[in-house]
């Protein structure tokens, strides 16, 4: 039987780094049942033995209500892990001990990993690992994950003969202790379960009756202390953590460090720096991404598509096969230039710790849209590509914010839509008209944000965000992180892209596309004032937005679009194309991140919005 170990710890303590270094790249991402929280599991081979290692999401406490906290709680209590590997940031030992104390109470085998020992030392903190180990009754491993130092010792403990169980008992208020004891006795609960019950925290192993009797005791304690047990227990744990931390830490005089935060988090020059950073990233990704995408498409056309046509297969295989190649081209054409480049930049921002500063500064502006500071990231990303933008909504703390951000992201013009706007409107009508499309979209996004912030269900929490330490990013890890996200994108979007392309190919072969065209022509002309072939081009835009533009040229038989469509028709075409239905890759990611139902709702909403706005415009143009 293979041993199973899980990594737990606060956010940004280097957990994922340890995970990546131990497991290498052969990692499987799975969804924990009933949630959208991704769990990463990998197999580690060490000294001819194998064990599995799971990276649980970073959290501050086991008692919270967020999806991540629920997941970790359930996993630790009911899961089948053989060993909990608790990763701590040595520099912030006291704060990190809080979660460790909670985890220790579960009384499952545990080892403590004191990570970032180098940082702690340079901050003048010397930690007595042996004293800490005696306190908890489990081994303490001192590591520096960025250098890979001592990580193999973790593996030693996982496959070792002894699995030590922590012995530490935090000192609780005596009413709490008495209540916990009686809950344990009458309902046959473990220590940890009785604490969760008193804190009114749901857990699958706690029956409603247990929760009820715990609630009765809790309200009694609350009356006496004028403070809820949740708060008392929290304060008790913090006091224990403080006492332990003071006991095992020796402070030495520290060197004065330069305080970049006095620049980065002030209104001035912080906000100009923020704007320059964001616009700069956007510009680089846009230019470089566009160039790379063109290169990838042309290389694949020359070496894959053209040779394939040259094979002279039967018409059916030729159509379907080229559809598959086109899908591959769209997928890779987005994945590498845009998703990968963006994630390189985002990983740099994340690893330097700048991202949290940006979120702090942007908090105010985001409030109007029903979002908090963290919402800045998806919105900025969305100008490049909706796919990484939606993937980044998972950093948002509540589902409510994730939904609002996803809707706004699908509306904002990504680079492919910018190609449509510049290729059709700017070149055939004029720059003013092109900007007016941006104007319309921005107004719609703003209004939508205001409306959504009022009607979206779910509680609104203010931003409580730990500022990550400012540090120099390590190129190797930046690239690796970006790479993992690209592969995740390919994994999500590729199957859908392939399937839908094959179907389109078959339809085309069977002549359904022409049938659709003649069927839609009267409707399209009446509603949008667009001929049938233009509407078919719009449908191709679902595969990849700029394909609408390319298909229009192919179906119209000319690149001089002004000769086949009037200015008002081109304008309507571009506007509808920009607004309606996100592309297949976006829909795939939406389904993954916020669920099938919400994804379907967004798709239907944008479809309706695009068509009705197009129809309205057609109506207005007819009147003028």
């Amino acid at each position: 039987m293979m041993r199973r170990a899980v990594l737990i710890g606060n956010p940004s303590v280097g957990k994922s780094l340890i995970f990546n270094q131990l497991t290498g790249l052969g990692v499987e991402v799975s969804n924990y049942p009933g949630t959208t929280v991704g769990l990463m599991t990998g197999i580690v081979r060490y000294n001819e033995t194998e064990f599995s290692l799971t990276d649980l999401p970073g959290i501050y406490s086991l008692s919270g209500k967020s999806d991540e906290e629920k997941l970790v709680r359930e996993y630790l209590i009911t899961g089948d892990a053989d060993l909990i590997v608790a990763v701590l940031d040595a520099k912030h030992l006291e704060r990190n001990l809080y979660l460790l104390l909670q985890a220790a109470e579960i009384r499952k085998p545990l080892v403590i990993v004191l990570n970032m020992m180098d940082d702690a030392r340079s901050a003048g903190k010397i930690i007595d690992a042996d004293a800490l180990s005696k306190k908890f009754g489990v081994p303490v491993i001192e590591t520096i994950a960025t250098e890979g130092k001592n990580l193999e010792k973790i593996a030693d403990y996982v496959i070792g003969d002894e699995l030590p169980v922590p012995i530490i008992v935090p000192r609780y208020d005596h009413h709490i202790e008495a209540a916990a004891k009686s809950l344990q006795k009458f309902h046959n609960l473990s220590e940890a379960e009785s604490m969760f019950a008193l804190e009114n925290v749901s857990l699958s192993s706690l029956s409603p009756e247990v929760m009820e009797s715990a609630a009765a005791i809790s309200s009694e304690i609350e009356k006496r202390h004028m403070m809820s047990p949740e708060q008392i227990i929290g304060a008790n744990r913090h006091n224990t953590a403080k006492a332990i931390s003071e006991e095992v830490t020796t402070l030495s005089p520290q060197k004065k460090r330069r305080d970049l935060d006095s620049l980065l988090t002030r209104g001035f020059p912080g906000i100009p720096i923020l704007i320059i950073t964001m616009v700069g990233i956007l510009a680089v990704v846009f230019l470089l991404g566009g160039f790379l995408e063109g290169a990838i498409i042309s290389v694949m056309t020359t070496y894959l598509l053209d040779p394939f046509h040259a094979l002279n297969l039967s018409p059916f295989f030729d159509t379907v096969g080229s559809a598959v190649i086109l899908a591959l081209m769209s997928g890779l054409g987005i994945a590498f230039p845009y998703v990968f480049l963006f994630y390189i930049f985002i990983s740099i921002l994340e690893d330097t710790g700048y991202l949290t500063r940006a979120a702090f500064l942007a908090d105010r502006g985001m409030h109007h849209l029903g979002l908090h500071g963290q919402g800045l990231i998806p919105l900025v990303l969305s100008f490049g590509c909706s796919v990484p933008a939606i993937m980044s909504t998972r950093f948002l703390p509540t589902r409510r914010e994730r939904v609002i951000a996803s809707v706004l992201v699908t509306m904002l013009p990504c680079s492919a839509r910018t190609v449509v706007i510049s290729g059709i409107v700017a070149s055939f009508i004029g720059f003013g008209a092109a900007f007016s499309i941006y104007g319309i979209v921005f107004i719609l996004v703003f209004v939508l944000g205001c409306v959504l912030s009022r009607i979206t269900p779910g509680e609104q929490y203010g931003m409580i965000l730990e500022m990550a330490q400012l540090r120099r990013p390590i190129p190797k890890y930046v690239v690796r992180k970006a790479w993992m996200r690209v592969s995740e994108f390919l994994y999500i979007a590729m199957p859908l892209l392939l399937i839908s392309s094959v179907f389109l190919g078959i339809f085309e072969y069977l002549g359904l596309v022409t049938m659709f065209e003649s069927f839609i022509d009267p409707i399209s002309t009446a509603v949008l004032g667009l001929p049938g072939f233009a509407f078919t081009a719009l449908m191709f835009g679902i595969l990849r937005k700029e394909m609408a533009f390319e298909t229009l040229a192919i179906m119209g038989g000319t690149t001089d679009l002004a000769s086949i469509l009037s200015s008002s028709q081109l304008y309507i075409f571009a506007l509808v194309c920009v607004l309606f239905v996100p592309c297949i890759s976006t829909i795939a990611v939406l389904m993954k991140e916020i669920g099938v139902k919400a994804a379907a709702l967004i798709t239907v909403f944008t479809l309706t919005l695009g068509i009705s706005l197009g129809a309205l415009l057609h109506f207005v143009f007819m009147l003028v």
Partner: protein, 232 residues
């Protein structure tokens, strides 16, 4: 003598509310004994309470905690002398300055509890309940006292959004607690000392708790009730 002087130095630096303080500004404390002063400063640096840079002396985290403890003793003793014994405020403050060095932490806690038990008129909010109702009660009682210098010298309890950048604060309570339970996880609990690092003009703040910087939205900051950690 050196021990008392050391505590006075820490307290004085904390009270200035500045990051760094020049040694020359501390000379009053030593009553002309410059040699004793420099000896005490050296000793404090050795123990890791102070650091010295080009612009002067500054408190380390450890030093700040120590200084706040002394400041708290001072505040509790002054309250006791003025509220219970009716001593003149100025005189009480001087007396407290002498007593704060020898009194034990336990006595201070008991004295504090004693002051709080003396009835609702004298409530000052330390270690008080966190409920919304209680918050209002305390706000009004501390406002009531503002005109009565004889009754309390404690600082009023205000929301975090009303404090200035750089101030050292003592968390008194958290309103609308249910919405902000993450604050407990991060260590923002009553009794904790926090520093207000940064405040934007929309009242979004960054605080330092347990050595970590945490950014808070304005609506979260206004629900954290704090007491400024300095004495007159």
């Amino acid at each position: 003598m050196t021990f008392e002087l050391s505590e006075d130095i820490l307290e004085a630096i904390l009270n200035t509310g500045k990051e760094t303080v020049k040694v020359s500004n501390l000379e009053d404390l030593a009553h002309g004994d410059t040699e004793g002063l420099s000896k005490a400063v050296t000793c404090l640096k050795d123990k890791g309470y102070l650091t010295e840079s080009g612009d002067g002396l500054s408190l380390t985290d450890k030093g700040t905690v120590k200084a706040a403890q002394v400041a708290r003793k001072h505040a509790v003793l002054t309250s006791f002398l003025t509220e219970v014994l009716g001593t003149e405020p100025d005189h009480a403050s001087k007396e407290a300055c002498l007593m704060e060095h020898s009194v034990s932490s336990e006595t201070i806690e008991r004295l504090d509890t004693f002051l709080e038990k003396r009835g609702p008129r004298h409530k000052t909010g330390r270690g008080r309940p966190w409920g919304r109702h209680a918050a209002h009660m305390e706000m009004s009682s501390s406002q009531e006292h503002e005109g009565h210098a004889r009754l309390t010298k404690r600082n009023p309890i205000v929301s975090l959004s009303e404090c200035e950048e750089g101030s050292l604060l003592h968390v008194s309570m958290i309103r609308c607690f249910g919405k902000h339970s993450r604050l407990i996880d991060l260590g923002v609990i009553p009794g904790e000392l926090i520093t207000l690092r940064r405040k934007l003009d929309n009242n979004a703040v960054v605080i330092t708790v347990k050595g970590c910087d945490i950014a808070l939205s304005p609506e979260v900051a206004e629900n954290i009730m704090v007491e400024r950690c300095n004495t007159q």
